[in-house]
Symmetry: C2
Subunit: 263 residues, 2 copies
Amino acid sequence: MSYVNLKVYSGDSLEELVEVLKIAIARRSLVIILGECRVDYEGRAASRLELGERVVIIKQDSALLVHRPHGYSPVNWQPSTAIIEVTFKPSVGLVLHAVRDRPREYLTVVFVRVGLVVIGELVDQGGFTMYLEERDMRDILAENPWIIEEDLRVLGVEKPIGEGYVDIYALDKSGRHVLVELKRITATREAALQLYRYVEVYRKEHGETPRGILIAPSFAPTALETLTRLGLEYRYVDLKRLWELFKKRESKRVSLQEFFTKK
Amino acid sequence: MSYVNLKVYSGDSLEELVEVLKIAIARRSLVIILGECRVDYEGRAASRLELGERVVIIKQDSALLVHRPHGYSPVNWQPSTAIIEVTFKPSVGLVLHAVRDRPREYLTVVFVRVGLVVIGELVDQGGFTMYLEERDMRDILAENPWIIEEDLRVLGVEKPIGEGYVDIYALDKSGRHVLVELKRITATREAALQLYRYVEVYRKEHGETPRGILIAPSFAPTALETLTRLGLEYRYVDLKRLWELFKKRESKRVSLQEFFTKK
DNA sequence: GCCTAGGTCCCGTGT
DNA sequence: ACACGGGGCCTAGGC
């Protein structure tokens, strides 16, 4: 059991806050600042954000996010490789510098007014599991290749082809090799071209033209055009059907796990 | 001039907080919650996040972010189309439901303990400008085609070729058409193939083979291999040089604008 | 270190 | 509404 450990600063002067923030950042605490600021960024691109009220979050690994009151995306940021400095410049304000190497990028946040600062050390060991990713789709199809077509024998998954990896590598009933590319969402022309590259590289390396099959729940018009033009095949897959199989598989696994741990 | 308008709740019971949050969300205030929670997501994919201390931000357009103490990305989220409900379930906790249509997605955050709630209305009208996007690179090169090569005459930008758009369409000094594809960052094989598609479509539509030039600050080995193999050209571009030209252009524009507004 | 590929990608633009 | 492509994409995995 853990307890959220927080300190809140409100109504302090910028000079006072600078000292507080320096300590917090040195300690790698989580910091949330609400206030009025400008932001400049320069690196792979460059940007300028004029004065306005925002939320700045500095995470415990020094990732920094500047959030406006609307929208999913931070307007400016620095990922967790950033080094962060806090300074107070009279007649300018409270200045945050976040610098990142590779790629070299500079972020400067200048607060002219701060309404609130929250500092804390969050304890978060909770496990995170994501389901129904492309990896899951691939595993289910590899375990149930009859969904793709009859008498398909799976030889491998994520097989290296040239510099990439084909999702499923198989042999059909006539003895021809099959390269399968999967998309969890609508397949685009890019996906068709990706598959085509694998087919071409395989052909050159093995002197044999494999079948190429793109599998997705739906296809963009350009994907269909490209597939047809390049002599590739495609199959619609019903995601709900796959997820049913997935659930069965998971419950089986859980049962087995329970069996062994309870023993 | 604006003032950050904030309320802070700390030490209140979950039942008390539910009422506060209901009002805040109805008013479309910004809400920040720090506390211990679990999160479930189901939609295009599905995920489960076990108990831990996190920061949840609900923005003024109902975007919702769940941030762990580390990393750039939210672990769970709902973009700004979300509808959010707050309820209190005895012996469970404070429950946030965020539902989104198209794609249909469900997010549930259950707080078992809340350390702090911040509610406010942020005022943020500050302009945001991004520089050195691909669009800027394209405009600078279109205005200064001598950077690409001598006596190049630009006929258009974003010219439709088949189903895509070539960045710059030009005529060289020998009267041959040129298709230019730009990349702001390291060009990959994908970029080379994209250019090749344009060249091929143009050839079929006009019965004339145009030159294809890929322009980027650097090239992946696979990009160079592909370019050579497909008979395409490439040029290195110095982003700093372009950046200088960009600044000049911007300052010229500003001067003109100042001239007209002052008149 | 680079490159390849996925992501609940998000987001803007165009049809 | 959907399709298409960019993004300071970020992040994970392989070599």
